[in-house]
């Protein structure tokens, strides 16, 4: 600020119409840096483009119907994604309700019931710290707690519980934001008519915040769908040539199969892996589109 202000020295009335002599240089510098900043943006976008083009050119050749109908195989040309595709769908179907109930429940407690005391502050701090715990550590928790202590084995439910805890902080935080966005005038209107707290939450607050909650949940699930490390930890990296039958079944998921193929030395397996990545990215794209669609469609004018 000081440096800036020295340009307008008092007593310079005679030249008040002409620009400061160093202005062209400063403007030139501004333009140079603007170019540098824009280049950084261009660099990021270019990297994304290269990544996507590279994956598509690598994988498009292996992308055929067989990929969806075959199980994994020693021969790359026969290798398919049937088990991991179905496994991922199972995993999402289990993780979604568990994490939704826990996450939304926690957020409602914090926003609507909790009094501003130490216990509430503890929960809030705890959630922001949980969000920063590396996913592989959640894998260690899952391995000890669900696989061994609760004796769930290397099952779908053990994986889904681990994933639910992993994405819990994301759902809690996004739900809290959605609940906070409901104007307090609406709550007051409800209370003023003699509604109880739960009636107000259930009939006024939740209906108004449901688009935001759903968007946050879908985005959290799209994080879970690509997570690999925690599921490797609980032992989902095994050769699976069958479909899961119950929540106690062994399973594999898309990113784990991709990891498996990436780890093979043969170039052919890398191509199948790229094809798997294309499918995974399309699934992600679909989920994100749904989230954006919900957000735009139900955006409320409060």
């Amino acid at each position: 600020m000081k440096e800036v202000s020295q340009e307008t020295t008092p007593g310079a009335q005679t030249q008040h119409l002409s620009a400061p002599s160093n202005l062209p240089k400063r403007e030139w510098k501004n333009r140079v840096f603007k170019t540098i900043f824009a280049t950084a943006v261009g660099f990021s976008l270019l990297m994304l483009l290269i990544l996507i083009i590279r994956i598509i050119t690598q994988g498009i050749g292996s992308l055929d119907w067989q990929l969806f109908t075959n199980f994994a195989s020693r021969h790359p040309e026969q290798a398919g994604l049937k088990a991991p595709l179905i496994g991922t769908i199972w995993m999402m179907a289990l993780t979604a309700p568990i994490s939704f109930v826990l996450g939304v429940g926690t957020a409602i407690y914090l926003e609507e019931y909790a009094k501003p005391n130490r216990f509430t502050a503890l929960i809030q701090t705890n959630i922001s710290n949980l969000a920063g715990v590396p996913s592989v550590v959640f894998g260690l928790l899952g391995l000890t707690l669900f696989v061994r202590e609760l004796a769930l084995g290397r099952s779908l439910i053990a994986g889904a519980l681990t994933m639910s805890l992993l994405i819990l902080p994301i759902i809690v935080v996004s739900t809290q934001e959605a609940l906070r966005a409901v104007p307090s005038e609406l709550k007051q209107a409800s209370y003023a008519m003699g509604a109880t707290t739960w009636q107000t939450i259930f009939k006024v607050v939740l209906p108004a915040s449901v688009p935001g909650i759903l968007t946050g949940t879908i985005l959290a699930l799209s994080r879970a769908i690509g997570e690999t490390a925690p599921l490797i930890m609980i032992g989902a990296l095994t050769y699976i040539a069958f479909l899961p039958e119950s929540i106690m079944s062994q399973f594999t998921v898309m990113p784990i199969q991709i990891f498996n193929w990436t780890n093979r030395p043969q170039e052919e397996f890398h191509m199948v892996a790229a094809a798997g990545i294309i499918i995974l990215l399309v699934m992600l794209l679909l989920m994100n589109s749904i989230a954006v669609w919900i957000r735009n469609k139900f955006q409320r004018r409060f």
Binding site: M1, E3, V4, E7, P20, L23, K29, N30, K34, F37, A40, V41, S44, L48, L51, R54, I55, V101, G103, V104, G105, T106, Y109, L110, Y113, A114, I123, N126, I127, S128, L130, G132, V133, P134, V136, V137, G139, L140, L141, T144, L165, P169, W198, R223, G226, E227, T228, A229, I232, M233, L237, P255, I258, F259, T262, H270, A274, L280, L281, L284
Partner: protein, 313 residues
């Protein structure tokens, strides 16, 4: 006005219903308890993580001396005469994180300044979602990209670069973290009130001068917090380094050769090398504990910085 004269007044009906409001009262009593249980589960998760790591780590230290763990410069758990010195893993972890930061911090910050200070509303609204895509790509995909594309490209430039090396996953991790630095720093800069910018513009400052001398210092604590969070993220990142970084512990600072990180070690051992109950099995928890302590410390530091130095506008 009401057609049906047989009906009692609404007030009377409500009065009557009030006496039989059992269901409502039950919900009123049970719902907060259910929500409280949900909230407590998040606390239990933290306890679960800490206790799990603690118990298994204690078992590990009953078999391997904590002094060796902290001071030995060798990490060879699979040898017949194993060495458990965490230093090579820390070296690998921090070297790769440092490479990532060399990419992510300058680029991310430049993107943030561009979006916050230079870009029009329309450009900002186009670019931010695209950057979110970059941040949303699963890490296994980045790992695949590092191993099958970036490494071969680097090998063409740097002869002698091993297939598994520290440089390639470091660079790719940096690209992955750009959106995180950019988005958190931009939040901090956008929070600087417009009046501060206008004050400087009114004195004839160029956009660059406003950005670097007014907005940047005002947003500094938020920007530094974003760096710390990004480092924490880089330390905890797993799949890129597992796929492209290889499984050999670091030997010095040679980034053209394989450097195993803490996360990569944990994954490698759980892939089947470690039988339940062996010393190697417990070692992954000791490494996990070390990882947890480092990331937690970084996260707390970031919270401290953004709280302690929060500007009062």
């Amino acid at each position: 006005m009401m057609s049906d004269n047989e009906r009692p007044s609404i007030r009377k009906m409500i009065e009557d219903k009030a006496s039989q409001k059992g269901a409502t009262n039950a919900a009123e009593k049970t719902m907060p308890k259910l929500f409280l249980i949900c909230a407590i589960i998040s606390i239990l998760t933290t306890f679960g993580i800490v206790l799990t790591l603690l118990f298994e780590t204690i078992t590990f230290f009953s078999e391997v001396s904590i002094v060796e763990f902290l001071t030995s410069s060798q990490w060879y758990p699979m040898f017949s005469d194993p060495d458990y010195g965490i230093r090579p893993l820390l070296l690998g972890t921090f070297t790769i994180a440092a490479i990532a930061m060399v990419v992510a911090i300058p680029v991310g910050l430049a993107v943030a300044i561009y979006l916050s200070e230079y870009a029009s509303d329309k450009i900002r609204r186009t670019i931010k979602p695209i950057l979110e895509v970059l941040a949303g790509i699963p890490t296994i995909v980045y790992g695949f990209f590092a191993l099958t594309f970036v490494t071969p490209v680097l090998q063409a430039v740097i002869p002698g670069l091993a297939i598994y090396n520290a440089l390639s996953p470091g660079l790719v991790m940096g690209i992955m973290i750009i959106p995180m630095v950019a988005s958190l720093s931009e939040d901090a800069m956008s929070a600087v009130p417009q009046s501060m910018r206008e004050g400087a513009f009114a004195l004839g400052a160029t956009r660059l001068e406003v950005s670097l001398r007014v907005v940047f210092p005002a947003a500094l604590s938020g920007i530094i917090a974003s760096f710390v969070l990004s480092i924490s993220r880089a330390i905890g990142e797993t799949m890129i380094v597992t796929v492209a970084g290889g499984g050999s512990p670091a030997q010095g600072l040679d980034i053209t050769s394989s450097m195993q990180t803490m996360t990569a070690y944990i994954v490698q051992m759980s892939l089947g090398d470690a039988g339940f109950g062996t010393t190697v099995y417990y070692s992954i928890y000791a490494v996990g504990m070390t990882l947890f302590i480092f990331t937690l410390a970084m996260n707390l530091l970031a919270q401290f910085i953004s709280k302690r130095f929060r500007e009062e506008y």
